[in-house]
Amino acid sequence: MARTRHSDARSRRIGLILFAACAVVAVPALIVLFSMAGNSSSPWFGQYDAETHPAFDFSLADQDGKPFRLQDLRGQAVLLSFGFTRCPNICPTTLGHLAAVYRKLPPSAQERTKVVFISVDERDSPASLKEYVPFFNDRFIGLTGTPADLGTTARAYGASFRKAPAVGSDMGDYMIDHSTYTYLIDPEGNLRVLYRFEQLPETGRIADDVLRVLGTRASGRQP
């Protein structure tokens, strides 16, 4: 009996210590999370831009080699990312998460959403994009263009890329260090939300943001 009381007291003590430890860890973590969101009352998961900035209307070529402008997607939400098809880690991770976001959208919202991957590698062609992008989802769009057009487009989105030597490997002469942001563009063609690479696993919350720019987010979740 004495033994039981002793162990009860001990488990209470352990419980208290655990509670204190959780509070010590959780409170600063929550503060960091909210300060990262910028505004604790923001319903947006990504970094939301309340001001209206038209997204740069690039003019590139799709995986069938046909001219493709962002303007062609007016009326639809666009999830845009930059990369290259020889990229074995970041780009497949990004596109895999975006495929999961897309799957989480109801069919009516999928009809009004496009996922666009712009290759910033001059070695990529419409043909190489056609072998790469549909693997993640056959509705995804792969774009490429002249080095000048790609440079202009990337700069306009604040994205950057540069060649990096691939020493001692079979990765070709070089790999590409590149921006890993994903951009959400609203149906009016405005750049609305920015996601850091580390946020992409939260596919359900990104899907919520997509529904919100489409204006179909349940009103209960609006601010």
Binding site: T85, R86, P88, N89, I90, P92, T93, G96, S128, E131, Y132, F135, G158, A159, S160, F161, A164, A166, V167, G168, S169, D170, M171, G172, M175, I176, D177, H178, S179, T180, Y181, R196, F197, E198
Partner: protein, 140 residues
């Protein structure tokens, strides 16, 4: 006979003890069939009192297997670079995960499809001795 030996060699449990290093949750990323490379991710757990280096590996599907790190350069820019080895600290662990450090499989002889299982032998070094960790890694 050789095939039987090979099969026996690779018939190993999901959690592998190779002396001092245990590998948990290993997986290989399914990539488009045109890909020239893919990546393996896992957690390396070192049970020993000495650091263990993972220097590379071999597999029937890849001509070259090397440890690779991901670098973050600010403004969301990321790049990758080969390293001589991953060090797993004594009594410690090292996580290889998407968007981070990984084992790079290059010169792919075949691109392993989702649902397949890839035999892979990691090469380790500890205290001047070379070791091997035999893995059967699912592709997803």
């Amino acid at each position: 006979m050789n095939r039987v030996l090979c099969m026996l060699l690779f018939l190993s449990p999901a959690v592998i003890f190779a002396g001092d290093v245990e590998v948990e949750g290993a997986w290989i990323r399914a990539v488009p069939p045109s890909s020239k490379a893919t990546a393996a991710f896992m957690t390396l757990v070192n049970r020993s009192e000495k650091p263990v280096l993972v220097t590379g590996g071999t597999s029937p599907v890849a001509g070259e297997i090397k440890p690779m790190i991901t670098t973050k350069q600010g403004d969301g820019v990321m790049g990758m670079g080969f390293v001589e080895s991953f060090s797993v600290p004594a009594k410690g662990r090292r996580v290889l995960e998407p968007g981070g450090d990984h084992i790079m499989l290059m010169k792919l002889r075949e691109v392993p499809g989702a649902g397949s299982v890839v035999p892979l032998v990691l090469t380790t070094e500890s205290g001047g001795k070379t070791g091997h960790i035999r893995l059967e890694i699912p592709v997803r």
